[in-house]
Amino acid sequence: MRDRDGDRDRTGHVADADVNEEDLKQRIADRMPQCGVTVPKPGRLIATVPRDGLLSLLHLLKTDGFEHLSLISCVDWIDEGELELVYHLWSQEKKVHAMAKTRVDRASPRMLSVILLFRHAQTYERELHEMFGIDFDGNPRQVPLLLDHWQGIPPMRKEFDLRRHARETFGVEERTDD
């Protein structure tokens, strides 16, 4: 709640920001030994856990003040055969942005839904279900969101060839430039 009192300096991050993140890192490492935590730069925190530990990590972060879920993102690491789920959290008190990461198998991706912790995760999970084909257990509304009657592989996966699809569906001529 520092900034509401107006004692924040003008240059961006407050001087003791590092202490905060190191504290957090320590606390997470104490409570969840299987979790790898790094602080890439001031105001950012990256925590990586195996798939099973994600809910407890999110719960831990939420009780620590990370109450705002900015985004649930997914990265398709096709060479490693895994999908990486990235949960972006923000703490208004600490002014720290945390990314909680976990990986799921690409072939049959399943994940537990986090709508009990963050209500609006419903929409993000709905989109990821549509775009990456991940099943979220516990999400009641995994129906198409943006696409209309899509058939075939989910479009955001790396093996989906955008240009071939455009050529076959819309008859787009190939261009010489890339």
Binding site: D3, R4, R8, R10, T11, G12, H13, G43, R44, E67, H68, L69, S70, L71, S73, C74, V75, D76, V86, H88, W90, Q92, K95, H97, M99, F118, R119, H120, Q122, T123, Y124, R141, V143, P144, L145, L146, L147, D148, H149, P155, M156, F160, L162, R163, D178
Partner: protein, 377 residues
């Protein structure tokens, strides 16, 4: 699978299913809401987005960093510059580019002008929905002066492709500050007129006060940011929380309201217009000298080092974020855009519409300041 979001319960005989949008004058953007109405009351609402989906994130994976540059501003047509700034900031973060202070100030000017233009556009829509066409016409006419400024600065009225990794595309043209002051003065002098005609109007207050109340706890729990959150009394603003561009050196307050209803949301936007005008003035007055960009490597063969970053910015609608992953090639590996309208436009909208009167559907949606292209991407 083929039925998009089928209704869960069978409709009672007195209930009527209505498609509100996309071909509907009361609809902002290409967006649909499927309403179940009973008489004049909405029983159930389901958002039906996706009319503007063009697969941005996939397209960006197929284009080089420099080719993506004209693409990103088209994410949100009403407020394009924050998207450019986000992209530039993400690339700078990954590539370790420095931005000269003058570029920071110019970016602030552009971002705030973009906010003003977006808010004036919002005012047009909101006034129109309430049947206040005169104010709508005036606001839209005044917005054009802001677009003229953009044209003088960047050459484009709507899309500017101006903020660019490493600074801005070119320095301010001669006499830009004078032109800008004239426009600012004009807008400043119009604000009392808007107040007289609209914001202080009793009928406006009658129609919006106590309508579609979103409490602060609910707003925080549902990922709401920006003006909608500030209308509930929380003073959260990325410009204050994680200052970017030149905001750290400028003097401004975050306007808030306590009630969280349609009225509060509208007044917060109105206050933000005034604050943005003052910010533009401050940034122009405090503009430092020096170069407006840093030299970039040859963009056609430019490879950004591997890594990942999340940058965020306060766009006209709230926290806009950019999550970018690079694998060291000349194209981004993965880009994900966090749009401020996304949580608001689907879950919050569906909740606020429940039990509302059919006359209010359009302007509840507009009071939330939802931009459909941001949701669909």
């Amino acid at each position: 699978m083929t039925e998009p979001d089928a209704p869960t319960a069978t409709a009672a005989p007195r209930e009527l299913e209505m498609y509100f949008g996309p071909q509907h004058v009361g609809m902002v953007g290409n967006f649909g809401i499927i309403l179940t109405v009973e008489g004049d009351t909405v029983v159930r609402a389901r958002a039906n987005p996706g009319y503007l989906h063009r697969g941005f994130e996939k397209l960006m994976e197929y284009r080089t960093y420099i080719q993506n540059f004209p693409l990103v501003c088209r994410l949100n047509v009403m407020d394009p510059d924050p998207n450019e700034a986000l992209y530039a900031m993400a690339v700078e973060d990954l590539a370790g580019l420095d931005v000269p202070p003058r570029a920071h100030y110019i970016r602030t000017v552009v971002l705030e002008l973009s906010r003003v233009s977006s808010h004036l556009m919002w005012m047009w829509g909101y006034a129109n929905l309430l049947g206040f066409e005169t104010l709508g016409q005036w606001a839209m006419g005044d917005r054009d002066y802001v677009l003229d400024l953009f044209e003088a600065l960047t050459g484009g009225r709507v899309y500017h492709t101006y903020i660019w990794p490493g600074g801005v595309r070119r320095d301010l043209p001669d006499g830009f500050a004078d032109k800008a002051y004239r426009v600012l003065d004009h807008l400043q002098s119009m604000l009392p007129e808007y107040d007289n005609l609209f914001f202080n109007h009793r009928l406006f207050a009658d129609r919006t006060q106590g309508l579609a109340v979103l409490g602060r706890d609910d707003a925080l729990a549902m990922g709401v940011t920006g003006t909608n959150l500030r209308a509930t009394g929380a003073a959260a603003d990325t410009r204050k929380d994680e200052p970017y561009a030149a905001y750290g050196a400028l003097d401004f307050d975050v306007p808030t309201m306590q009630d969280g209803d349609s009225y509060a949301r509208a007044v917060v936007v109105r206050l933000e217009i005034e604050q943005s005008l003052s910010l533009v003035r401050q940034a122009l007055e405090g503009m430092p000298g020096g170069p407006a960009w840093t030299k970039m490597p040859n963009p056609f063969k430019w490879e950004v080092p591997p890594g990942e970053t999340y940058v965020k910015i306060e766009s006209a609608r709230g926290e806009a974020g950019f999550y970018m992953v690079s694998d060291g090639s000349d194209k981004p590996y993965r880009v994900h855009f966090r749009s401020p309208s996304y949580p608001v436009g689907i879950l919050v909208l569906e909740r606020l519409l429940q039990g509302a009167s059919l006359s209010d559907v359009g302007h509840i949606m507009l009071s939330l300041n939802i931009a459909a292209p941001e949701i669909d991407r």
